[in-house]
């Protein structure tokens, strides 16, 4: 069992880190402060082949393994958690269902553009009344002569309104509950599809997550992704992979906070010595370093399962649960180590702290992850 990264994985990590330091870090604080979506990064990310890493080259992707993809999300998120989720949601939530369930015609129309980063994707499942209980969604897709009419609203849709392609879940047969849900590919600017006001959040403020509305939005039959009634299954399988991306985002946030805490502890002098010489600080750093390393092992292990064609649902849940709770804990301790300075905007740890919390909530709350793990353990 080799715990070392391959040459390619190391080189990818170095290149994405270089890219992140050059293009992302300089704007990270500003994106957060101004709640600004980094529109200008999209072509640069595309040029680096970072928008469809795990997809085959012939489909427009980079043909990279999943571990490399996860390393890329980690490195981007280390610089800016908002940019990390923009890439992860696009790659794992929006592009994947089309890659996995799309017809040849649908793949021809969307996959190249999305995997190459020419077009941005979004995933629309969550509704005001349906979060963890995703099957309780009330958005409907009513069959008409020439297609479907979508009605309903979704919320917290990452990448809206900048995305071009939306994978939308709506019930073709509301009577059947979750089994009546279907998935559709909807392009922006389709009449009847509108985007609401920006959501102001605690963290990942550079990520745009407004509600979106469908009012008699007409789409063709060819917009159906998979079969009628397959929607819930498609959503759940997509989230299984998406949560590995989120676990990588959490890992990146945790690493950033840890790095900042270590640098500060070495420089900050109190009582005539750097505080890094104090055992209290050393033990905090030891716990933080341990947790981040453990999170890394879980995240890479989950990604490795994807690469080896093994089931990854439980492993992904473990990685997501642990990495997200680690991010929150480590970011909190990082502020503690910084003392009062950590509470100000002059230091990046307060942003790490605010960014970390979302990783415990989206793409399946920690409670959902525990449900998945318990189900597996109690089989």
């Amino acid at each position: 069992m080799d715990f070392e990264l391959t040459d390619e994985q190391q080189l990818i990590r170095d290149a994405v880190r270089e890219f992140a330091e050059t293009e992302v870090t300089p704007i990270a604080a500003e994106l957060d402060r101004d709640h600004r979506f980094p529109y200008e990064l999209l072509p640069k990310l595309a040029e680096m082949n970072l928008m469809g890493m795990p997809y085959p080259e012939k489909e427009g992707g980079a043909g990279a393994d999943y571990v490399s993809y996860v390393i890329a999300i980690e490195e981007i998120s280390r610089a800016c958690a908002s940019t990390g989720i923009i890439v992860s949601a696009h790659t794992s939530l929006a592009t994947w269902p089309i890659f996995k369930f799309g017809t040849e015609a649908q793949k021809d129309q969307y996959l190249q553009d999305m995997a190459s980063g020419r077009r941005l994707g979004a995933f629309a499942l969550t509704e005001p009344g349906a979060g963890t209980d995703a099957g309780a969604g009330t958005a409907t897709a009513t069959l008409r002569a020439d297609g479907y009419a979508l009605n309903g609203s979704k919320m917290f849709i990452t990448n809206a309104p900048f995305a071009d392609v939306y994978v939308v879940f709506a019930k073709t047969d509301p009577e059947r509950g979750a089994r009546g849900m279907s998935a559709f590919i909807v392009e922006k600017d389709t009449p009847g599809f509108s985007v609401g006001e920006a959501e102001h959040k605690l963290g990942i403020r550079g990520s745009s997550t407004p509600p979106i509305y469908f009012a008699d939005c007409r789409i063709g039959k060819e917009a159906l992704l998979g079969g009628e009634g397959d929607g819930f299954k498609i959503a759940m399988q997509t989230l299984d992979g998406g949560r590995i991306g989120v676990s990588a985002q959490a890992l990146g946030i945790a690493q950033a906070a840890l790095d900042a805490a270590i640098a500060y502890a070495k420089e900050r002098v109190q009582f005539g010595k750097p505080i890094a010489t104090l055992q209290a600080i050393q033990w905090m750093i030891a716990d933080m370093a341990l947790e981040v390393d453990a999170a890394r092992l879980l995240v890479y292990r989950a990604a490795s399962c994807v690469d080896n064609g093994r089931p990854y649902s439980t492993e992904g849940a473990m990685a997501k649960l642990f990495a997200s709770e680690t991010a929150t804990r480590v970011a909190g301790k990082a502020i503690q180590i910084h003392g009062g300075y950590g509470y100000t905007e002059s230091y990046p740890v307060e942003r790490n702290y605010r960014d970390a919390k979302i990783t415990e909530l989206y793409e399946g709350t920690s409670e959902v992850q525990r449900m998945v793990i318990a189900r597996s353990a109690l089989r």
């Binding site: 080189l11 040029e47 490399s68």
Partner: protein, 258 residues
């Protein structure tokens, strides 16, 4: 047309520490492409694309320079193939020795129209290997190069001089050392990095190259940590800029600096 980029795989002294006895501890340093070599590769790549030339990387050094990751790191930056000499005896090689080896490698590659190097290596920073290499090959050499255009046998080279830029025409093969800001090296994309593993890597045996020996032998007879001026390390409180400025000026006047 054939263009060679001579690159270096080595550690950054920023990551090294000096022991009290003057020996250097490299154990925490991770080797990588020397800092300015990506600039040289980028400059050469742009010219190679314009001229339809093959771009070949060459390097020589101690253990590790032929490791797959080292070759891939260089190839991922835009080289078509690499030729490498790895030999333990080269780990502590002097500039002339290294240049002599590189000259033989370039003769082995054959039909080379241009050699491009970085401004200087990140660790030794001598700026002499390209010029000694040119001397070995009997070719013209120019440093501080900021632009390369033209074609084989008629290279048009721009180089920085005090006060400006000079444009030269060079009629034969040459060695050009790229200025540190000659080009903005692109960060290798994911596809480029993954494709690097498929590009050819040729390993050459040092003994088989029959590099003529040097006339000078260097022996290190002593090592020391240089005497560094001990700095006061006084921090001036800056809560009130005017007060901080006054304190600084007073201190400098008292010390006789102002």
């Amino acid at each position: 047309m054939r263009i060679v980029v001579a690159y270096k795989w080595t550690c950054d002294p920023e990551e090294a520490t000096v022991r009290a006895d003057g020996t250097v501890d490299w154990s925490r340093a991770k080797p990588g492409l020397s800092a300015y070599d990506p600039v040289a590769i980028e400059l050469a790549r742009q010219f190679a694309d314009a001229a339809g030339a093959e771009l070949i990387g060459v390097t020589a050094g101690g253990k590790g320079v032929a490791a797959p990751i080292a070759a891939k790191a260089a190839l991922g930056r835009g080289l078509d193939r690499v030729v490498i000499v790895e030999d333990g005896s080269l780990a502590d090689a002097g500039r002339s020795e290294l240049a002599a080896v590189l000259a033989e490698v370039i003769r082995h590659v054959g039909d080379v129209d241009l050699v491009v190097t970085g401004d200087s290596s990140v660790d030794v920073a001598a700026k002499m290997v390209p010029t000694v290499l040119a001397g070995e090959l009997g070719w013209p050499a120019v440093a501080e190069v900021t632009s390369i255009t033209g074609q084989a046998g008629a290279l048009r080279v721009e180089r920085a001089i005090p006060g400006g830029v000079q444009v030269l025409e060079i009629s034969g093969p040459a060695v050009l050392a790229a200025a540190a800001d000659a080009a903005a090296p692109r960060v290798p994309g994911m596809k480029e990095l993954l494709a690097a593993a498929k590009k050819p890597v040729e390993l050459l045996d040092l003994t088989a190259l029959k590099v003529p020996s040097q006339n000078a032998v260097m022996t290190v007879t002593g090592r020391a940590r240089p005497e560094r001026k001990v700095r006061k390390g006084q921090l001036i409180d800056t809560a009130d800029p005017a007060a901080a400025a006054a304190e600084l000026v007073t201190a400098l006047r008292a010390a006789g600096t102002l």
